[in-house]
Amino acid sequence: AQSVTQPDIHITVSEGASLELRCNYSYGATPYLFWYVQSPGQGLQLLLKYFSGDTLVQGIKGFEAEFKRSQSSFNLRKPSVHWSDAAEYFCAVGGRTNAGKSTFGDGTTLTVKP
């Protein structure tokens, strides 16, 4: 069975500081991996995805993530956080042969201090 762990429930960073959100996954083969962002009262929006190839993937809003197979991790990073990045972030793992069914982590809430 596939699963995702986001160890940090809540993270607070100062505006302009760097950010790393952790994600560990469990999957029997090479997974599809995703990061989504959810602003208050809204649905989720895809930030970036890993399907194959280069293990460092770039996304929207200046985010990037690195797939590390040996560590079963897909951590999300941003070099300089903006106040508008305050939101909830979800990591998800999906299979290649299951109609695109994804399993989500419990989410990490990001607070940005001025």
């Binding site: 989504y36 649905g43 989720l44 399907f51 069914k101 994804s102 989500f104 419990d106």
Partner: protein, 115 residues
């Protein structure tokens, strides 16, 4: 842009009522999903559909049913609402194309309160 529209943003229902949550997508996606979101529990899959009239149970299907009569529309039905079904419900859709599979497009959510 892909648009996934959930017909009701906020609903208040009474215990035992039948509840319909409607979802429509406008990009000809094959796959559609219903998730439930609760604080601290992330998103949990209720049902999904990979084609018209096809449906499969997700992780928490008990107390729910679904209908997909047209490709663009996927309905979630609570036959007899209970207070433990108070939650945020999120509809999503995706292509089945290799390289795009699993890339979900979400609606804004329907917040259901059952009294």
């Amino acid at each position: 842009d892909v648009k996934v529209t959930q017909s009701s943003r906020y609903l208040v229902k009474r215990t035992g009522e039948k509840v319909f949550l409607e979802c429509v997508q406008d990009m000809d996606h094959e796959n559609m999903f219903w998730y439930r979101q609760d604080p601290g529990l992330g998103l949990r899959l209720i049902y999904f559909s990979y084609d018209v009239k096809m449906k499969e149970k997700g992780d928490i299907p008990e107390g729910y049913s679904v209908s997909r009569e047209k490709k663009e529309r996927f309905s979630l039905i609570l036959e007899s609402a209970s207070t433990n079904q108070t939650s945020m419900y999120l509809c999503a859709s995706s292509l089945r194309t290799s390289g795009r599979i699993g890339e979900l497009f979400f609606g804004e959510g329907s917040r259901l309160t059952v009294l």
